[in-house]
Symmetry: C2
Subunit: 212 residues, 2 copies
Amino acid sequence: MNELILTTYDWVPGMPRGYVRDLRVRWALEEAGLPYRVESTPFRDRQPAHFAHQPFGQVPWLTDGDLSIFESGAILLHLGERSEALMPADPVGRSEVKQWLFAALASVEAASQPWSFFKFAGDSEGSSMWKFFDGFLDARLKSMETMLAGQDWLVGNFSVADILMADVLRLVDRFEGLAEYPACRAYVARATVRPAFVKSHADQMAHFAAAD
Amino acid sequence: MNELILTTYDWVPGMPRGYVRDLRVRWALEEAGLPYRVESTPFRDRQPAHFAHQPFGQVPWLTDGDLSIFESGAILLHLGERSEALMPADPVGRSEVKQWLFAALASVEAASQPWSFFKFAGDSEGSSMWKFFDGFLDARLKSMETMLAGQDWLVGNFSVADILMADVLRLVDRFEGLAEYPACRAYVARATVRPAFVKSHADQMAHFAAAD
């Protein structure tokens, strides 16, 4: 088996700590018990070697032998295909997990990310565009609330789809956006008490703190 | 082989016509020469049966035997796994196509969709949040411009990743957002002259026009 190498920034400011997307990959690797090593790339002075692995100059990326993969969703799909702890073996379950990987990003984060940018900017009052984006997220959370009220995880047992969805909803929760969605909030709580999340979060915090 | 059934709305208003996401799926099916049938679900009065296939009440979804898949990205991944016309056979190429499926959505559309909502709302002047989202998209387009200046398609030959990326960039182009990005614009032009796109676009327009 190839050595898995996860690359993230060497340092980030305080605000994004605990939310940088290498956390999603750490979490999956810990759940699956796959050994890995973490490497760093400069946050402040991004080099051509960085863009060669991640054309948008973001993190993370994962190398697995001759594969170098960016996009947390694509990395989670790759790891799901390596471990039954992350994706079930049956074709219907696999198809549903893949579908929910895309849904977490293209249906839920597509609404929560612009919403969180308004929140970060402190611009979440009054404007018609704020109301539009707040309503867009609300519609998505209503659907998720219905779904999560009846089940612990998105597809049968815990999977990479839950890593992605819980991480997306966690940032909404940070800004109190789940106050009216108790099933979504309980889902985030259920996911983030898992030992693999707790370790991944602590490891990310320690990684960035070491560079202060 | 199972019959493939693509479900989309029975009707939509004029504005989104030509851009409803069933187009991405039609395009892939046409490229691969896979036979399929199109079914309709009400746009105006969405029923529980709709939400059972697509929990957010959106379209499209695809049924393939006992699989029912929503999210255009997940459907394109599924079709890519069925046809070498849509995804290469070699492991590195396959990994890259999957990565770009996610990147088209989570890196590029994540920036272009909020931008297009400002454009749709006619609210693209002056406000600090407009400037933020315009800059966010700009950063992504700069990266895509560098990349597409040197190659015709994202990964070797044309693939499902190009269907998704070209469709995402096509909506930016509609609002003149590619004026400073000639390689992105040429890429959209190269993709949309393909007979499979032309047929898919005409088929979607005819489908909605038939319900007027």
